[in-house]
C-alpha cells in the first residue's frame, strides 16, 4: 500500500517541481548572452523553439554601446535568422552593419529588409524586450506583438 502511494506521489511531486527557466521555448526566449556581450556573442543566432534567432544592434545602438551609454530595447532588432531565399542561416556582420547570408551572398539591412542578392522577402521580425539591472540586461525575444 505504501509502495503504491509512493509510486503515485513520486511522479506527482516531480511534476510539481518548477521546470527549467530557459526552456519554456515556444513563444519567448532569453538570448544566451547579455546586451553588453552582443558584439562578442559566439552563439548568435541562437535556438528559439527550434529555429535560429538573430539579435542585432542598430547603428545608433552600436554608437551608444561604444560610448558606454545605456542600451534600450529599441536599439536592438531580432529576426528569424532563416534566409528567405533558400533557408540558410543568416549572420550578423557588425563590421558592415548588415545581415549576411553566406550561401548566396544575400544581404539584409539591420531592419531585416532584403537589400541585395537573391532574397525575395525581408526577414521575419520578432519583438525584443530587455529585463534586468542596467548594464546587466538580458535580451528577451518573443513572437507576440507587444499589444
Amino acid at each position: 500500500m505504501v509502495a503504491t502511494w509512493g509510486a503515485i506521489l513520486y511522479p506527482v511531486l516531480r511534476f510539481l517541481r518548477p521546470r527549467a527557466a530557459t526552456a519554456s521555448g515556444a513563444l519567448e526566449v532569453v538570448a544566451p548572452f547579455r546586451v553588453k556581450e552582443i558584439l562578442q556573442a559566439k552563439n548568435n543566432p541562437f535556438d528559439f523553439g527550434g529555429k535560429p534567432c538573430l539579435v542585432v544592434l542598430t547603428p545608433d545602438g552600436a554608437k551608444r554601446l561604444a560610448a558606454g551609454q545605456a542600451i534600450q530595447a529599441d536599439d536592438l532588432r531580432a529576426f528569424n535568422a532563416v534566409c528567405t531565399h533558400v533557408d540558410c542561416t543568416v549572420k550578423y556582420r557588425q563590421e558592415n552593419g548588415d545581415i549576411y547570408c553566406a550561401c548566396h551572398e544575400g544581404i539584409y539591412d539591420l531592419n531585416g529588409r532584403n537589400v541585395s542578392g537573391p532574397p525575395p522577402r525581408p526577414l521575419e521580425a520578432y519583438v525584443v524586450t530587455l529585463r534586468g539591472e542596467p548594464g546587466q540586461e538580458e535580451i528577451v525575444v518573443s513572437k507576440q506583438s507587444p499589444a
Binding site: 511522479p11 511534476f15 510539481l16 521546470r19 519554456s24 515556444a26 513563444l27
Partner: protein, 415 residues
C-alpha cells in the same frame, strides 16, 4: 491507541461519522451470477478520481489560448518531469472511463436495474454518461492539434444541423462562425469548471440513490432465490471493497500498460488555414456517430440526410434516457431488448468501419470488431443458465470471435 481513540472521538463528536460508517457497515451486496457487473460503477468512480487528479496537475501548466495551447501541452510532455506520464494517463484514463461507462450502461440495461423504484438512478446515470461524453469532446480540442481542431469543427457542425435552433447552438458552441481561440477558451471553461460542477452534483444524486435503493437484483434471480429462502450476500465492508480494489488496481495496471505501450501522441499544431487532413477522426466513442453521418446519403426522401441522422441520434438518446418508462410489458420489453442488440451491433460495425476507413485495411477493421465483440459477448454469460442453449450460443459466438480475431491478427502480422 488511546490517542487515536481520542482523535476519532473528537471527529466523531463533531462530524457524526458513525452515520456514514454505519451505512457502510450495514451495506450488503447480493451474490449471484451478475455480481461482477457491480464493479463497473466503482471502477468508473476510480477512473474519475484519476481524471480529477491528473486533470488538476495538467491545468498547472496548460494555457488555453490558440497561441500557447499546443506549445504548453508540448512543454508538459517534453519539459516537465513526468509530464508525459500525467498526460498519457489523463488521456487513456478518459478513454477507459467512457468504455467502462458504456459497459456499466449496457450491463445495467441487461439486468433491467432501472425497474421501479430506480428510474431516477438510471436517468441520472444517462445524464452522467452525457456529461462524460461532453468531457471527452471538450477535452479533445484542448491540445489544439490538427486532428482535434478539425474533428471539433466537424463535431460542432453536426450541432448546426439541428432544425430551427441549430444555427444558434452552433454559434453558442463555437463562439462564432468558426472554431477559433474563443472556442478553445469556451471548451476549456466547460471542461474544467462547468462540467465538473454538474458532474459532482449529478454523481452525488446518483450515488445517494444507489445507497438508498441498494443493489438491484435481476428479477429472475430474485424469483429463484425466493424458493431457496433468499439470496446470499456479502458485507460492503470489507469484503466488497476489497474486491472493488482489485478492480481499481487492475484498471491502474491497464492504464500503465496502455501508457507504456501506446504513449498518447501530440500530433501537429492546428493551423486553421490549412486544408483539413484526410484522416480526421473524433474520439472512438463518437466514431459510430461520425461514420454514420458520413455515409448517410445527402438526401433521404424530402429531407437532408444529415438532419435525419442527427434527429435519429437525438431520438435514440431520448429512448435510452426514458427507457425505464418505455419498459411497460412483455412486448415493449422485447422491442427494447432487440433495439439494444441492434444498437450494439451498429456501434461495433460503425466504429470498426470508421476507425480504419480511408485505407484498405479490412483486416484491421475485422480485428477491432473482433475485440469489441469479445468485450461485449461475455456480458451475456450471467443471463444464460449454465448448460442451456443460450449459454452454448454465447460460448460458440465467443469462440468464433476469438478465432476470427486470431486469424485476422495472424494475417495482419504476416501480411
Amino acid at each position: 491507541m488511546n490517542t487515536r481513540r481520542r482523535f476519532v472521538g473528537f471527529l466523531e463528536e463533531r462530524l457524526g461519522l458513525d452515520v456514514l460508517l454505519g451505512l457502510a457497515r450495514n451495506k450488503l451486496v447480493p451474490i449471484h451470477a451478475s455480481t461482477p457487473f457491480y464493479y463497473f460503477g466503482g471502477m468508473a468512480i476510480f477512473l474519475f478520481l484519476v481524471q480529477i487528479g491528473t486533470g488538476i496537475l495538467l491545468s498547472l501548466y496548460y494555457k488555453p489560448s490558440p497561441d500557447q495551447a499546443f506549445e504548453s501541452v508540448q512543454a508538459i510532455v517534453t519539459e516537465v518531469d513526468f509530464g508525459w506520464l500525467i498526460r498519457s494517463a489523463h488521456s487513456w484514463s478518459a478513454n477507459l472511463l467512457v468504455g467502462v461507462l458504456f459497459l456499466h450502461l449496457l450491463t445495467t440495461f441487461m439486468m433491467r436495474a432501472y425497474r421501479r423504484p430506480r428510474e431516477l438512478t438510471w436517468m441520472t446515470g444517462i445524464v452522467l454518461l452525457g456529461l462524460f461524453l461532453a468531457f471527452g469532446f471538450s477535452g479533445y480540442l484542448l491540445p489544439w492539434n490538427e486532428l482535434a481542431f478539425f474533428a471539433t469543427r466537424v463535431g460542432t457542425a453536426i450541432v448546426g444541423v439541428v432544425p430551427v435552433v441549430g444555427k444558434q447552438l452552433l454559434l453558442l458552441a463555437r463562439s462564432g462562425e468558426d472554431v477559433t481561440g474563443d472556442t478553445l477558451a469556451r471548451f476549456y471553461s466547460l471542461h474544467v469548471v462547468v462540467l465538473p460542477m454538474l458532474t459532482f452534483a449529478v454523481l452525488g444524486v446518483h450515488l445517494f440513490l444507489v445507497q438508498k435503493h441498494g443493489m438491484s437484483v435481476p428479477e429472475k434471480i430474485v424469483a429463484d432465490a425466493r424458493s431457496k429462502g433468499g439470496l446470499r450476500a456479502m458485507p460492503f465492508l470489507p469484503h466488497f471493497l476489497l474486491r472493488d480494489m482489485v478492480g481499481w488496481y487492475l484498471a491502474l495496471a491497464i492504464l500503465a500498460a496502455l501508457a507504456a505501450l501506446f504513449p498518447w501522441e501530440l500530433g501537429d499544431k492546428a493551423d486553421p488555414f490549412k486544408p483539413a487532413p484526410d484522416n480526421i477522426k473524433p474520439e472512438w466513442y463518437f466514431l459510430f456517430m461520425f461514420q454514420a453521418l458520413k455515409v448517410l446519403p445527402a438526401h433521404l426522401g424530402p429531407f437532408e440526410g444529415e438532419v435525419v441522422g442527427v434527429l435519429f441520434f437525438g431520438a435514440c438518446g431520448l429512448i435510452v434516457l426514458f427507457a425505464p418508462f418505455l419498459d411497460r410489458g412483455k412486448i415493449s420489453r422485447a422491442v427494447l431488448a432487440s433495439l439494444a442488440a441492434v444498437a450494439v451491433a451498429f456501434f461495433i460495425a460503425m466504429t470498426s468501419w470508421g476507425w480504419f476507413s480511408g485505407a484498405e485495411q479490412t483486416t484491421l477493421r475485422v480485428i477491432l470488431g473482433g475485440i469489441q465483440t469479445v468485450v461485449v459477448l461475455p456480458l451475456l454469460i450471467p443471463f444464460t443458465a449454465p448448460g442451456s442453449n443460450g449459454r452454448k450460443l454465447v460460448y460458440a459466438g465467443l469462440t468464433l470471435a476469438i478465432a476470427v480475431l486470431a486469424v485476422a491478427t495472424w494475417w495482419e502480422t504476416l501480411g
